[in-house]
Protein backbone atom coordinates (compact mmCIF):
# COMPACT_ATOMS: atom_id res chain seq x y z
CA UNK A 1 0.00 0.00 0.00
CA UNK A 2 1.33 3.43 -0.97
CA UNK A 3 0.76 6.86 0.47
CA UNK A 4 -0.66 9.67 -1.59
CA UNK A 5 -1.02 13.34 -0.80
CA UNK A 6 -4.21 15.09 -1.84
CA UNK A 7 -3.49 18.79 -2.20
CA UNK A 8 -6.45 21.16 -2.16
CA UNK A 9 -5.92 23.94 -4.69
CA UNK A 10 -8.18 26.94 -4.50
CA UNK A 11 -8.61 28.95 -7.62
CA UNK A 12 -8.90 32.24 -5.79
CA UNK A 13 -7.57 32.51 -2.24
CA UNK A 14 -8.77 36.10 -1.91
CA UNK A 15 -12.43 35.12 -1.95
CA UNK A 16 -13.88 35.59 1.48
CA UNK A 17 -16.47 33.14 2.69
CA UNK A 18 -18.93 33.83 5.48
CA UNK A 19 -18.26 32.19 8.85
CA UNK A 20 -21.43 30.13 8.35
CA UNK A 21 -20.20 28.93 4.97
CA UNK A 22 -16.81 28.07 6.45
CA UNK A 23 -18.56 26.11 9.18
CA UNK A 24 -20.50 24.08 6.62
CA UNK A 25 -17.33 23.35 4.65
CA UNK A 26 -15.51 22.36 7.80
CA UNK A 27 -18.20 19.83 8.67
CA UNK A 28 -18.26 18.44 5.15
CA UNK A 29 -14.49 18.19 5.10
CA UNK A 30 -14.46 16.40 8.46
CA UNK A 31 -17.14 13.96 7.27
CA UNK A 32 -15.14 13.31 4.11
CA UNK A 33 -11.93 12.70 6.06
CA UNK A 34 -13.84 10.67 8.68
CA UNK A 35 -15.07 8.38 5.89
CA UNK A 36 -11.48 7.80 4.77
CA UNK A 37 -10.28 7.31 8.35
CA UNK A 38 -13.11 4.80 8.94
CA UNK A 39 -11.47 2.66 6.25
CA UNK A 40 -8.15 2.96 8.09
CA UNK A 41 -6.75 4.83 5.08
CA UNK A 42 -6.12 8.25 6.64
CA UNK A 43 -2.53 9.11 7.55
CA UNK A 44 -2.44 12.82 8.37
CA UNK A 45 -3.39 16.21 7.10
CA UNK A 46 -4.12 19.79 7.92
CA UNK A 47 -5.81 22.90 6.70
CA UNK A 48 -3.67 25.91 5.80
CA UNK A 49 -5.35 29.18 6.81
CA UNK A 50 -4.80 32.02 4.34
CA UNK A 51 -4.41 34.78 6.94
CA UNK A 52 -0.87 35.94 7.52
CA UNK A 53 0.48 33.88 4.63
CA UNK A 54 3.84 35.00 3.16
CA UNK A 55 5.78 34.08 0.07
CA UNK A 56 9.56 34.14 0.15
CA UNK A 57 10.93 34.69 -3.35
CA UNK A 58 14.23 34.86 -5.17
CA UNK A 59 16.78 36.98 -3.26
CA UNK A 60 14.68 36.53 -0.14
CA UNK A 61 12.03 38.97 -1.23
CA UNK A 62 9.10 38.49 1.09
CA UNK A 63 5.61 39.28 -0.11
CA UNK A 64 2.25 38.97 1.53
CA UNK A 65 0.36 36.47 -0.29
CA UNK A 66 0.37 34.02 -2.03
CA UNK A 67 -2.26 36.19 -3.68
CA UNK A 68 -0.19 38.79 -5.51
CA UNK A 69 0.36 37.79 -9.08
CA UNK A 70 -1.17 34.38 -8.77
CA UNK A 71 -4.50 33.97 -7.10
CA UNK A 72 -4.44 30.22 -7.00
CA UNK A 73 -3.33 28.84 -3.66
CA UNK A 74 -3.18 25.75 -1.47
CA UNK A 75 -5.84 25.48 1.20
CA UNK A 76 -4.62 22.30 2.86
CA UNK A 77 -3.77 18.69 2.26
CA UNK A 78 -4.31 15.20 3.54
CA UNK A 79 -2.20 12.10 3.18
CA UNK A 80 -4.01 8.82 2.57
CA UNK A 81 -3.11 5.17 2.14
CA UNK A 82 -4.25 3.61 -1.13
CA UNK A 83 -3.53 0.52 -3.21
CA UNK A 84 -3.31 2.52 -6.40
CA UNK A 85 -3.45 6.06 -7.69
CA UNK A 86 -6.97 5.25 -8.89
CA UNK A 87 -8.11 4.54 -5.35
CA UNK A 88 -6.52 7.81 -4.19
CA UNK A 89 -8.34 9.60 -7.01
CA UNK A 90 -11.62 8.08 -5.81
CA UNK A 91 -10.95 9.54 -2.37
CA UNK A 92 -10.15 12.92 -3.92
CA UNK A 93 -13.46 12.97 -5.81
CA UNK A 94 -15.30 13.20 -2.48
CA UNK A 95 -13.49 16.34 -1.37
CA UNK A 96 -15.80 19.28 -0.61
CA UNK A 97 -13.11 21.59 -2.06
CA UNK A 98 -14.32 20.53 -5.49
CA UNK A 99 -17.65 22.25 -4.90
CA UNK A 100 -15.82 25.51 -5.63
CA UNK A 101 -15.70 26.26 -9.34
CA UNK A 102 -12.11 26.12 -10.59
CA UNK A 103 -10.79 24.42 -7.46
CA UNK A 104 -8.81 21.22 -7.88
CA UNK A 105 -7.40 18.40 -5.79
CA UNK A 106 -3.96 17.33 -6.90
CA UNK A 107 -3.11 13.68 -6.20
CA UNK A 108 0.59 12.87 -5.84
CA UNK A 109 2.32 9.75 -4.65
CA UNK A 110 4.58 10.19 -1.63
CA UNK A 111 8.14 9.07 -2.28
CA UNK A 112 9.09 6.01 -0.27
CA UNK A 113 12.12 6.51 1.87
CA UNK A 114 13.85 3.47 0.44
CA UNK A 115 15.80 5.26 -2.28
CA UNK A 116 13.62 3.91 -5.08
CA UNK A 117 10.96 6.67 -4.98
Amino acid sequence: MDEYILIFRHEDGTKVASPEQIQVWMKQTMDWIGGIAAQNKFVSGTGLPFDGAKVVGHNNVVTNGPFGDIKETIGGFIIVKADSVDEAVEFAKGSPVLQGDGNTVEVRKIAKRDGTH
Partner: protein, 408 residues
Protein backbone atom coordinates in the same frame (compact mmCIF):
# COMPACT_ATOMS: atom_id res chain seq x y z
CA UNK B 1 -21.34 -4.08 59.59
CA UNK B 2 -21.60 -7.78 60.40
CA UNK B 3 -18.40 -9.55 61.27
CA UNK B 4 -18.53 -11.93 58.32
CA UNK B 5 -18.82 -8.95 55.99
CA UNK B 6 -16.25 -6.87 57.82
CA UNK B 7 -13.12 -8.82 56.96
CA UNK B 8 -13.82 -9.09 53.20
CA UNK B 9 -14.67 -5.40 53.21
CA UNK B 10 -11.45 -4.50 55.01
CA UNK B 11 -9.55 -6.82 52.70
CA UNK B 12 -10.83 -4.88 49.73
CA UNK B 13 -9.83 -1.51 51.18
CA UNK B 14 -6.75 -2.29 53.29
CA UNK B 15 -4.90 -5.14 51.56
CA UNK B 16 -3.73 -2.91 48.73
CA UNK B 17 -2.70 -0.13 51.11
CA UNK B 18 -0.53 -2.41 53.23
CA UNK B 19 0.94 -3.99 50.08
CA UNK B 20 1.74 -0.62 48.53
CA UNK B 21 3.45 0.76 51.62
CA UNK B 22 5.51 -2.40 52.20
CA UNK B 23 6.40 -2.70 48.55
CA UNK B 24 7.58 0.89 48.51
CA UNK B 25 9.73 0.10 51.56
CA UNK B 26 11.15 -3.22 50.33
CA UNK B 27 11.45 -2.42 46.63
CA UNK B 28 9.48 -3.73 43.70
CA UNK B 29 11.60 -6.90 43.50
CA UNK B 30 10.04 -7.95 46.79
CA UNK B 31 6.45 -7.40 45.78
CA UNK B 32 5.66 -11.02 46.70
CA UNK B 33 6.93 -10.51 50.25
CA UNK B 34 4.79 -7.39 50.58
CA UNK B 35 1.75 -9.30 49.36
CA UNK B 36 2.50 -12.23 51.67
CA UNK B 37 2.73 -10.03 54.74
CA UNK B 38 -0.52 -8.29 53.83
CA UNK B 39 -2.14 -11.67 53.24
CA UNK B 40 -0.88 -13.13 56.53
CA UNK B 41 -2.18 -10.08 58.34
CA UNK B 42 -5.69 -10.89 57.19
CA UNK B 43 -5.19 -14.53 58.06
CA UNK B 44 -4.37 -13.42 61.60
CA UNK B 45 -7.56 -11.40 61.69
CA UNK B 46 -9.57 -14.40 60.51
CA UNK B 47 -7.98 -16.57 63.19
CA UNK B 48 -8.31 -14.09 66.05
CA UNK B 49 -11.41 -11.97 65.64
CA UNK B 50 -14.03 -14.74 65.74
CA UNK B 51 -12.71 -15.78 69.18
CA UNK B 52 -11.50 -12.60 70.80
CA UNK B 53 -14.02 -10.30 69.14
CA UNK B 54 -13.47 -7.55 66.64
CA UNK B 55 -11.00 -4.96 67.92
CA UNK B 56 -12.25 -1.47 68.59
CA UNK B 57 -10.35 -0.05 65.64
CA UNK B 58 -10.02 -2.92 63.14
CA UNK B 59 -7.92 -0.96 60.65
CA UNK B 60 -5.42 0.13 63.28
CA UNK B 61 -5.25 -3.50 64.46
CA UNK B 62 -4.43 -4.66 60.92
CA UNK B 63 -1.77 -2.00 60.51
CA UNK B 64 -0.15 -2.90 63.84
CA UNK B 65 -0.07 -6.60 62.95
CA UNK B 66 1.31 -5.87 59.47
CA UNK B 67 4.03 -3.68 60.99
CA UNK B 68 5.03 -6.41 63.45
CA UNK B 69 5.12 -9.07 60.78
CA UNK B 70 7.30 -6.87 58.59
CA UNK B 71 9.65 -6.04 61.46
CA UNK B 72 9.94 -9.67 62.48
CA UNK B 73 10.71 -10.68 58.97
CA UNK B 74 13.44 -8.09 58.58
CA UNK B 75 15.19 -9.14 61.81
CA UNK B 76 14.54 -12.89 61.53
CA UNK B 77 15.00 -13.83 57.95
CA UNK B 78 18.70 -13.99 57.19
CA UNK B 79 18.40 -13.77 53.44
CA UNK B 80 16.01 -10.92 53.74
CA UNK B 81 18.23 -9.36 56.35
CA UNK B 82 21.25 -9.31 54.08
CA UNK B 83 19.48 -8.28 50.95
CA UNK B 84 16.98 -5.78 52.20
CA UNK B 85 18.20 -4.28 55.42
CA UNK B 86 21.16 -2.54 53.76
CA UNK B 87 18.79 -0.93 51.29
CA UNK B 88 16.54 0.32 54.04
CA UNK B 89 19.46 1.40 56.22
CA UNK B 90 21.21 3.22 53.42
CA UNK B 91 18.26 5.57 53.17
CA UNK B 92 17.80 6.00 56.92
CA UNK B 93 19.89 7.38 59.80
CA UNK B 94 22.21 4.91 61.55
CA UNK B 95 21.07 2.92 64.54
CA UNK B 96 17.59 3.03 63.23
CA UNK B 97 14.90 0.46 63.53
CA UNK B 98 12.69 -0.25 60.53
CA UNK B 99 9.90 2.28 60.50
CA UNK B 100 6.71 1.45 58.71
CA UNK B 101 4.66 4.51 57.94
CA UNK B 102 0.98 3.66 57.49
CA UNK B 103 -0.22 7.24 57.64
CA UNK B 104 -2.88 8.31 55.18
CA UNK B 105 -0.39 10.50 53.34
CA UNK B 106 2.21 7.77 52.93
CA UNK B 107 -0.45 5.29 51.85
CA UNK B 108 -1.71 7.66 49.16
CA UNK B 109 1.83 8.49 47.99
CA UNK B 110 2.85 4.83 47.94
CA UNK B 111 -0.22 3.81 45.97
CA UNK B 112 0.33 6.57 43.41
CA UNK B 113 3.99 5.65 43.03
CA UNK B 114 3.05 1.99 42.70
CA UNK B 115 0.61 2.95 39.95
CA UNK B 116 3.44 4.57 38.01
CA UNK B 117 5.73 1.59 38.67
CA UNK B 118 3.15 -0.97 37.50
CA UNK B 119 2.43 1.10 34.39
CA UNK B 120 6.10 1.53 33.55
CA UNK B 121 6.68 1.52 29.77
CA UNK B 122 8.85 -1.61 30.10
CA UNK B 123 5.90 -3.70 31.32
CA UNK B 124 3.61 -5.21 28.63
CA UNK B 125 0.11 -3.74 28.64
CA UNK B 126 -1.82 -6.90 29.57
CA UNK B 127 0.59 -7.52 32.44
CA UNK B 128 -0.05 -3.98 33.66
CA UNK B 129 -3.77 -4.63 33.95
CA UNK B 130 -3.26 -7.88 35.84
CA UNK B 131 -0.79 -6.27 38.22
CA UNK B 132 -3.03 -3.27 38.75
CA UNK B 133 -5.98 -5.52 39.59
CA UNK B 134 -3.95 -7.60 42.01
CA UNK B 135 -1.59 -5.15 43.68
CA UNK B 136 -3.37 -1.82 43.37
CA UNK B 137 -6.95 -2.99 43.67
CA UNK B 138 -6.48 -6.09 45.82
CA UNK B 139 -8.66 -8.40 43.72
CA UNK B 140 -8.31 -12.12 44.34
CA UNK B 141 -6.81 -14.40 41.70
CA UNK B 142 -10.15 -16.17 41.23
CA UNK B 143 -11.93 -12.84 40.76
CA UNK B 144 -9.46 -11.76 38.10
CA UNK B 145 -9.78 -15.15 36.40
CA UNK B 146 -13.57 -14.83 36.45
CA UNK B 147 -13.50 -11.41 34.80
CA UNK B 148 -11.12 -12.55 32.07
CA UNK B 149 -13.15 -15.75 31.62
CA UNK B 150 -10.13 -17.91 32.26
CA UNK B 151 -8.77 -20.07 35.09
CA UNK B 152 -6.64 -19.30 38.12
CA UNK B 153 -3.55 -21.01 36.70
CA UNK B 154 -3.53 -18.76 33.67
CA UNK B 155 -3.83 -15.63 35.81
CA UNK B 156 -1.16 -16.86 38.22
CA UNK B 157 1.20 -17.49 35.34
CA UNK B 158 0.43 -14.09 33.84
CA UNK B 159 1.04 -12.33 37.17
CA UNK B 160 4.21 -14.31 37.75
CA UNK B 161 5.62 -13.24 34.41
CA UNK B 162 4.55 -9.64 35.02
CA UNK B 163 6.34 -9.57 38.39
CA UNK B 164 9.43 -11.04 36.73
CA UNK B 165 9.32 -8.10 34.32
CA UNK B 166 9.03 -5.63 37.21
CA UNK B 167 12.02 -7.22 38.87
CA UNK B 168 14.12 -7.50 35.73
CA UNK B 169 13.32 -3.92 34.79
CA UNK B 170 14.46 -2.70 38.23
CA UNK B 171 11.51 -0.34 38.14
CA UNK B 172 11.83 2.16 40.98
CA UNK B 173 8.80 2.95 43.10
CA UNK B 174 8.97 6.70 42.93
CA UNK B 175 7.14 9.66 41.59
CA UNK B 176 8.24 10.51 38.02
CA UNK B 177 10.35 13.63 37.56
CA UNK B 178 8.33 16.71 36.81
CA UNK B 179 9.31 16.87 33.13
CA UNK B 180 8.45 13.20 32.71
CA UNK B 181 5.04 13.19 34.36
CA UNK B 182 3.11 13.85 31.18
CA UNK B 183 4.76 11.06 29.19
CA UNK B 184 4.67 8.59 32.10
CA UNK B 185 1.02 9.45 32.64
CA UNK B 186 0.00 8.17 29.20
CA UNK B 187 0.53 4.41 29.84
CA UNK B 188 -1.10 4.89 33.27
CA UNK B 189 -4.20 6.36 31.62
CA UNK B 190 -4.24 3.59 29.03
CA UNK B 191 -4.19 0.95 31.77
CA UNK B 192 -6.93 2.67 33.76
CA UNK B 193 -9.01 3.01 30.59
CA UNK B 194 -8.57 -0.69 29.79
CA UNK B 195 -9.24 -1.66 33.40
CA UNK B 196 -12.53 0.22 33.28
CA UNK B 197 -13.44 -1.36 29.93
CA UNK B 198 -12.54 -4.77 31.30
CA UNK B 199 -15.30 -4.29 33.83
CA UNK B 200 -17.71 -2.47 31.54
CA UNK B 201 -17.54 -4.82 28.56
CA UNK B 202 -16.51 -8.07 30.25
CA UNK B 203 -18.62 -11.07 29.36
CA UNK B 204 -18.42 -12.38 32.90
CA UNK B 205 -21.83 -12.98 34.45
CA UNK B 206 -20.65 -11.64 37.80
CA UNK B 207 -22.19 -8.17 37.69
CA UNK B 208 -21.05 -7.11 41.15
CA UNK B 209 -17.47 -7.96 40.29
CA UNK B 210 -17.66 -6.15 36.94
CA UNK B 211 -18.96 -3.02 38.62
CA UNK B 212 -16.16 -3.32 41.17
CA UNK B 213 -13.58 -3.30 38.38
CA UNK B 214 -15.08 -0.10 37.04
CA UNK B 215 -15.23 1.51 40.47
CA UNK B 216 -11.60 0.59 41.13
CA UNK B 217 -10.53 2.12 37.82
CA UNK B 218 -12.43 5.27 38.83
CA UNK B 219 -10.84 5.30 42.28
CA UNK B 220 -7.33 5.09 40.82
CA UNK B 221 -8.11 7.77 38.24
CA UNK B 222 -9.47 10.00 40.98
CA UNK B 223 -6.22 9.53 42.90
CA UNK B 224 -4.46 11.20 39.97
CA UNK B 225 -6.93 14.08 40.05
CA UNK B 226 -6.44 14.57 43.79
CA UNK B 227 -2.71 14.98 43.36
CA UNK B 228 -1.85 18.43 42.03
CA UNK B 229 1.11 17.14 40.01
CA UNK B 230 -0.93 14.62 38.07
CA UNK B 231 -4.17 16.56 37.76
CA UNK B 232 -3.91 16.96 33.97
CA UNK B 233 -6.85 17.77 31.67
CA UNK B 234 -6.80 14.33 30.04
CA UNK B 235 -7.04 12.68 33.49
CA UNK B 236 -10.19 14.72 34.11
CA UNK B 237 -11.49 13.76 30.67
CA UNK B 238 -10.94 10.07 31.39
CA UNK B 239 -12.70 10.40 34.74
CA UNK B 240 -15.63 12.18 33.07
CA UNK B 241 -15.85 9.37 30.52
CA UNK B 242 -15.96 6.79 33.32
CA UNK B 243 -18.69 8.74 35.16
CA UNK B 244 -20.90 8.94 32.05
CA UNK B 245 -20.43 5.27 31.19
CA UNK B 246 -21.03 4.00 34.70
CA UNK B 247 -24.20 6.10 34.99
CA UNK B 248 -25.84 3.34 32.90
CA UNK B 249 -24.76 0.41 35.10
CA UNK B 250 -28.25 -0.24 36.43
CA UNK B 251 -29.99 0.16 33.11
CA UNK B 252 -27.71 -2.14 31.12
CA UNK B 253 -28.69 -5.39 32.77
CA UNK B 254 -32.06 -7.07 32.69
CA UNK B 255 -33.63 -9.09 35.47
CA UNK B 256 -32.00 -12.28 34.19
CA UNK B 257 -28.57 -10.73 33.72
CA UNK B 258 -29.10 -10.22 29.99
CA UNK B 259 -27.64 -7.19 28.28
CA UNK B 260 -30.03 -4.35 27.50
CA UNK B 261 -28.99 -2.26 24.51
CA UNK B 262 -28.78 1.51 24.80
CA UNK B 263 -31.90 2.13 22.70
CA UNK B 264 -34.00 -0.14 24.92
CA UNK B 265 -32.74 1.08 28.29
CA UNK B 266 -35.04 2.63 30.87
CA UNK B 267 -33.45 6.04 31.20
CA UNK B 268 -35.01 6.63 34.61
CA UNK B 269 -32.44 4.08 35.79
CA UNK B 270 -29.54 6.23 34.57
CA UNK B 271 -27.66 7.65 37.54
CA UNK B 272 -28.10 11.42 37.36
CA UNK B 273 -25.54 12.03 40.09
CA UNK B 274 -22.83 10.36 38.00
CA UNK B 275 -23.94 12.24 34.89
CA UNK B 276 -23.65 15.57 36.77
CA UNK B 277 -20.26 14.53 38.08
CA UNK B 278 -19.14 13.61 34.58
CA UNK B 279 -20.20 17.00 33.25
CA UNK B 280 -18.28 18.71 36.06
CA UNK B 281 -15.01 16.89 35.25
CA UNK B 282 -15.50 17.25 31.50
CA UNK B 283 -15.69 20.98 32.10
CA UNK B 284 -12.45 20.87 34.10
CA UNK B 285 -10.88 18.80 31.31
CA UNK B 286 -11.36 21.62 28.81
CA UNK B 287 -8.71 23.80 30.49
CA UNK B 288 -5.77 22.68 28.37
CA UNK B 289 -5.24 23.20 24.66
CA UNK B 290 -4.74 19.53 23.86
CA UNK B 291 -7.65 17.35 22.80
CA UNK B 292 -6.94 13.75 23.76
CA UNK B 293 -8.94 10.69 22.77
CA UNK B 294 -10.36 10.78 26.30
CA UNK B 295 -11.75 14.25 25.65
CA UNK B 296 -13.42 13.03 22.46
CA UNK B 297 -14.76 9.86 24.04
CA UNK B 298 -16.02 11.72 27.10
CA UNK B 299 -17.81 14.19 24.83
CA UNK B 300 -19.43 11.35 22.91
CA UNK B 301 -20.41 9.70 26.19
CA UNK B 302 -21.91 13.03 27.28
CA UNK B 303 -24.17 13.14 24.21
CA UNK B 304 -25.23 9.57 24.93
CA UNK B 305 -26.54 10.70 28.30
CA UNK B 306 -29.22 12.54 26.33
CA UNK B 307 -31.55 9.85 25.09
CA UNK B 308 -33.59 12.00 22.75
CA UNK B 309 -32.62 11.70 19.07
CA UNK B 310 -31.91 15.22 17.85
CA UNK B 311 -30.01 16.38 14.80
CA UNK B 312 -27.76 18.42 17.09
CA UNK B 313 -26.85 15.33 19.08
CA UNK B 314 -25.98 13.15 16.12
CA UNK B 315 -24.14 15.86 14.21
CA UNK B 316 -21.95 16.44 17.24
CA UNK B 317 -21.42 12.73 17.78
CA UNK B 318 -20.51 12.26 14.12
CA UNK B 319 -17.92 15.05 14.25
CA UNK B 320 -16.44 13.58 17.43
CA UNK B 321 -16.17 10.14 15.86
CA UNK B 322 -14.52 11.71 12.80
CA UNK B 323 -11.90 13.30 15.05
CA UNK B 324 -11.44 10.12 17.06
CA UNK B 325 -10.74 8.15 13.88
CA UNK B 326 -8.23 10.75 12.78
CA UNK B 327 -6.30 10.23 16.03
CA UNK B 328 -6.40 6.46 15.71
CA UNK B 329 -8.37 3.84 13.81
CA UNK B 330 -10.33 1.05 15.42
CA UNK B 331 -13.05 -1.10 13.81
CA UNK B 332 -15.51 -0.33 16.61
CA UNK B 333 -15.09 3.43 16.21
CA UNK B 334 -15.47 3.06 12.43
CA UNK B 335 -18.76 1.19 12.95
CA UNK B 336 -20.04 3.66 15.54
CA UNK B 337 -19.14 6.51 13.25
CA UNK B 338 -21.17 4.90 10.46
CA UNK B 339 -24.15 4.51 12.79
CA UNK B 340 -23.92 8.23 13.67
CA UNK B 341 -23.71 9.01 9.95
CA UNK B 342 -26.94 7.12 9.36
CA UNK B 343 -28.64 9.33 11.96
CA UNK B 344 -27.41 12.50 10.23
CA UNK B 345 -27.61 11.58 6.55
CA UNK B 346 -29.95 8.63 6.48
CA UNK B 347 -29.51 4.89 6.12
CA UNK B 348 -28.88 4.84 2.39
CA UNK B 349 -25.90 7.17 2.63
CA UNK B 350 -24.59 5.18 5.59
CA UNK B 351 -24.89 1.85 3.73
CA UNK B 352 -22.65 3.18 0.95
CA UNK B 353 -20.03 4.20 3.53
CA UNK B 354 -20.45 0.99 5.54
CA UNK B 355 -19.75 -1.18 2.51
CA UNK B 356 -16.35 0.46 2.14
CA UNK B 357 -15.29 -0.56 5.64
CA UNK B 358 -13.81 -3.97 4.81
CA UNK B 359 -14.77 -5.55 8.12
CA UNK B 360 -16.31 -8.74 6.80
CA UNK B 361 -15.02 -10.91 9.66
CA UNK B 362 -16.64 -8.70 12.29
CA UNK B 363 -20.14 -9.64 13.48
CA UNK B 364 -20.85 -6.07 14.60
CA UNK B 365 -20.29 -5.01 11.01
CA UNK B 366 -23.08 -7.27 9.75
CA UNK B 367 -25.32 -6.36 12.68
CA UNK B 368 -24.94 -2.70 11.69
CA UNK B 369 -25.62 -3.44 8.00
CA UNK B 370 -28.65 -5.48 9.03
CA UNK B 371 -29.97 -2.53 11.03
CA UNK B 372 -29.28 -0.06 8.24
CA UNK B 373 -31.16 -2.21 5.71
CA UNK B 374 -34.11 -2.52 8.03
CA UNK B 375 -37.00 -0.61 6.47
CA UNK B 376 -35.19 -0.43 3.11
CA UNK B 377 -34.70 -4.04 2.07
CA UNK B 378 -35.98 -6.69 4.45
CA UNK B 379 -34.26 -9.53 2.62
CA UNK B 380 -30.88 -7.85 2.76
CA UNK B 381 -31.44 -6.97 6.41
CA UNK B 382 -32.06 -10.62 7.21
CA UNK B 383 -29.16 -11.82 5.10
CA UNK B 384 -26.75 -9.54 6.99
CA UNK B 385 -28.12 -10.41 10.41
CA UNK B 386 -27.74 -14.11 9.62
CA UNK B 387 -24.11 -13.50 8.72
CA UNK B 388 -23.71 -11.66 12.03
CA UNK B 389 -25.32 -14.55 13.89
CA UNK B 390 -22.94 -16.97 12.22
CA UNK B 391 -19.87 -14.89 13.13
CA UNK B 392 -20.83 -14.02 16.72
CA UNK B 393 -19.26 -16.12 19.44
CA UNK B 394 -20.92 -15.43 22.77
CA UNK B 395 -24.40 -16.36 23.85
CA UNK B 396 -25.48 -12.79 24.77
CA UNK B 397 -24.40 -11.56 21.32
CA UNK B 398 -26.28 -14.39 19.60
CA UNK B 399 -29.39 -13.62 21.64
CA UNK B 400 -29.34 -9.96 20.68
CA UNK B 401 -28.93 -10.75 16.99
CA UNK B 402 -31.59 -13.47 17.03
CA UNK B 403 -33.92 -10.97 18.63
CA UNK B 404 -33.36 -8.55 15.80
CA UNK B 405 -34.04 -11.25 13.20
CA UNK B 406 -37.28 -12.20 14.97
CA UNK B 407 -38.41 -8.59 14.96
CA UNK B 408 -37.79 -7.96 11.27
Amino acid sequence: MQEQELIPHLFRTEFRKITAVLCKLFGIENVNIAEDIAGETFLSALETWPFKGVPENPTAWLYAVAKNKAKNLVSRDQVFHHKITPIIESTAPSGYEIEIDLSAKNIADSQLQMLFAVCHPSIPAEAQIGLALRILCGFGIDEIANAFLTNKETINKRLFRAKEKLRAGMVAIEFPKENEINSRLQPVLTTLYLLFNEGYYSESQDIVLRNDFCLEAMRLTYMLIENEQTNYPDVNALFALMCFQSSRFEARKGANGEMILYQDQDESLWNQELITKGAYYLNLASRGDRVSKYHLEANIAYWYTIKEDTMEKWENVLQLFNQLLMIGYSPIIALNRTYALSKVRGNEAAIIEAEKLDLSTNHYYFTLLGELYEGIDKEKAKENLLKALHLSKTLPDKQIIQNKIDHL
